[in-house]
């Protein structure tokens, strides 16, 4: 962990927001992510904005000396009926991943172990944190310009290069609308609760080139926005290093997802999938939306 030292004559302020590029752009080690975040909680009109969360979704971005890491997590809503706030688990998972990255106590080639450590930290909290969530974590390892990913559940990522999708995560589901999930049930209910271990995550690793666009998002985006539309939006920001322009694109994607989610007549990817499972559904799926958009700068 680096200590911070500054002279009283030259005070610099660090802006804490999704604009990771605004802090002394010349000092950033290569390669790195330029990342931005946007999203909407499902109950957007009634909720207060909290950093790191959109409703029950959570996200994080972090930088260590050897890697850049981004991730999202989607809390499983079913816990609400047991009096447990579903957003707590996902938010804690992501915040702990961020802390672990910041103190560099993780293996930059194993995002699964990062998730596993973060999950173990849950057991060390005085205040019991219960619930479950999906998770998707990407690590950009600076030494070999490789991205290592781990995905549990139905959040996911898309990598776009030269106008085409080159990598994409697979949805992990036990059955329809029941994704794989990391969970911590209340004591005594361990047998009744779906609980997948971090080792059951799908892992993928690939080399990245300068200008690659990576979108990490929760199922609120993938269930409502057709892939073609996502691709068209993403290929416009290939190679974009200006965070402001990236932010505009992220906002666009989030807004698209939001509008389509509440469109009751649109044949969304969710509806298409439902029909494949013999459920007659139409329209979007109102859900929390989280978009983390990053480009690779080599």
């Amino acid at each position: 962990m680096q200590s911070l030292c500054w002279t009283t004559r030259f005070v610099t302020r660090a802006l804490r927001s999704g604009f990771s590029t605004l802090i002394e752009p010349n000092n950033k080690p290569k390669p790195h992510f330029v990342s931005v975040v946007c999203g909407f909680p499902k109950d957007f009109h009634r909720s207060k904005y909290k950093l790191g969360k959109y409703g029950e979704d959570a996200w994080f971005t972090a930088r260590s000396s050897v890697a850049d890491v981004i991730g999202v997590a989607d809390g499983v809503g079913g816990w609400r009926s047991y009096g447990i706030d579903p957003g707590e688990f996902s938010s804690f998972l992501m915040k702990t991943c961020e802390r672990l990255v910041n103190c560099a106590s993780f293996n930059p080639q194993k995002p699964v172990s990062l998730l596993a450590y973060s999950y173990c930290e849950l057991l060390e909290q005085k205040k019991p944190i219960l619930g479950s969530s999906t998770a998707c974590v990407l690590i950009l390892n600076r030494e070999n310009s490789t991205v290592y990913t781990a995905n549990i559940g139905d959040s996911g990522f898309i990598v776009v290069r030269k106008g085409e999708i080159v990598h994409r995560s697979e949805e992990q589901q036990h059955y329809f609308n029941t994704p794989f999930q990391l969970s911590l049930p209340p004591p005594g209910h361990g047998d009744n609760v779906l609980s997948d271990s971090p080792e059951s995550a799908d892992t993928l690793s690939f080399n990245v080139k300068d200008g690659d666009v990576i979108l990490v998002a929760t199922d609120g985006v993938f269930d409502n926005v057709p892939t073609k539309l996502l691709l068209d939006t993403l290929k416009e920001v290939e190679g974009e290093q200006d965070a402001v322009k990236l932010q505009m694109t992220a906002n666009t994607i989030a807004l698209m997802a939001r509008s389509l989610a509440f469109d009751s007549e649109f044949m969304s990817p969710f509806a298409i999938n439902a029909r494949k499972n013999n459920i007659n559904a139409i329209g979007g799926k109102p859900d929390d939306i989280t978009v983390v958009l990053a480009t690779v700068v080599l």
Partner: protein, 626 residues
Amino acid sequence: MISEADTSLTSSEDFTTDDGVLDEIRTSEVTHQEVIINQFAQKVIDFSSQYGSDTSISYTAYNITGRPSKFPDYGDFPETFAMRTYGRWWDVAPSTMQELQPSNFLDIPIHDFIVVEFEEFVIPQAISIYETYNPGAIVKIWGYFNTTESWQCLWSALPDLYVERRPRKFTPPLRRVCQPTKIIRLEFNHIFLDYFTEIDGIVLTGRKCDAREIADSRKSRKGPILRKLESVQFKLRQIENHNDILMEFLANDLGNFMKEAGLVAEDKEDNTPQLTLKDLPCEILFKILSYLDLVSIFRTAQVCRKLYDVATDPFLYQEINLKPYWHSACDDLLISLTKRATLLKKLDLSWCGLFHSITAPVFKDLVRTCCKNLTHLRLNSCKFINAGCMEVVGSVCVNLKELCLRNYSKSPSVLNFHCLKNLRCLERLDLFRTQIDSDLLLMTLRYNPTLKHLNLGICSATVNMDDVAIQISRYNRSIVSIDMWKSHYLSSVGLLALSQCHDLEEVDFGWCLREEASPGESLKILLRGCPRLKKVFLAAIRGINDRDLENITEFCPNLEQLDLMGVLGITYDMCYKILSKCNKLQLLDLSFCDQIDEIQTALWRDVFGVSIKRNFVPPDHPSFIN
């Protein structure tokens, strides 16, 4: 003839004196601009205890580094540094240990410490500590100065009796020092704390020193006056027949000289012999000196020959405690003690030896020479201990009744605990935060049937607590206290085994039993089998429910301390029942028990006179609004 060598002042103005006056002088050669920098801690070098386990980042010492994460919020946060103990509760528990050599003067007893390192050397001007929960435990701040290779106390004060429960950026006034440092030590005294204290960060403010200044001040440790004296040479003037002249003076003129100088009293009328300290018999002198602390005994030895003989007698060195002198304990001291302490029975070298002030060979020599009859040995957080040291301890100190080896988690391969297999009469074994081989531990338990106190808190994940519990139930039936805080693999099997130990007065199962739904029946059998239980800690055993508490009220009439932190399933009614039936109860920890609220606990504190602990809830939190 006094000859004088050529002296010239070097350009460094780092005087060693502490008097603040001199450092205002600057020669014209010192032209660098004064740059004041603030730094957060970069690294933790050493600490005596932490709440979290070593593999975690929650409530651990690591969190004191870097920028504060939670300040100015107030509350019990995992992103801060918290220690294992607070208040006087551990001092009144059955497992409490007394300090050795109580005559050692310590103005403020120190319970815990932490040593942090910063990135840059600075001349310290101010240190600020961000306290985010129950402030007020910091009592001393030390700085380590590489130039003199010594620690200096920069600030000290008595612990505050009452500090407001608000977040605090604590900036005590430091003593002025003129040497660069980047290592700071905080020392804590918990006695007045209501609950755990938590620290979020430290800021060191000082004038930055460049490398040249540091190198210069290392070379010239002495000030200009001393340097000049060193360059001066004295030549003795030889007088002829100086021996005869001296004899003549002693025979004839000494008496007059003494009278003139007033060193001898005028002849009195009565010739009663004056009794001096030296005329007292040895036994009385021993008794008097036995009330003195170690430093004073050493000083007494310098007074005169007789007192030297008395003060270096092994009789006075049967109990040695160097923990209050951790800052100046060094090899030379141990060598002196090796000569004097041949009857040594109890030795405490805890916290000594940081930065190689004590080395292993000297320690081994001490053990070989003096420790054949040693019964109590405390070596917590000693940096000089290696495998060879432990082997010597194991072969020489076979009569050990008490062995404390806390905080040896980092280098299990170096520490060869196989020395333990020679011990047969252990009564206390303290291995808090120490990695120990499972088989060795089980064997030690087997061969020490007199074991009364066992501390295995935060021991490594390789030790299976069920196996330990079964071994204890077989071979250590007279055990009085067991501490299994944050250990692994304890289950109902272990609890059932421990129910055979009817002398148990204290158990700490905090953060154990993680795989269980509820300890249920096994806990009931344990409580029933150990009616003498005074302290029962069940923190974060999430499966505990009202039925288990029912068993507590039924089978624990002597209960004095009960910890139920983080136990979700307990209700108001059951807590009320505990408070009414266990009338010796003094401490009840209900932090993070969501079903109990603040209004009830406030009422109970008044009615029952029990210290009930609750986690801090900000006043605008929904749970306050009933």
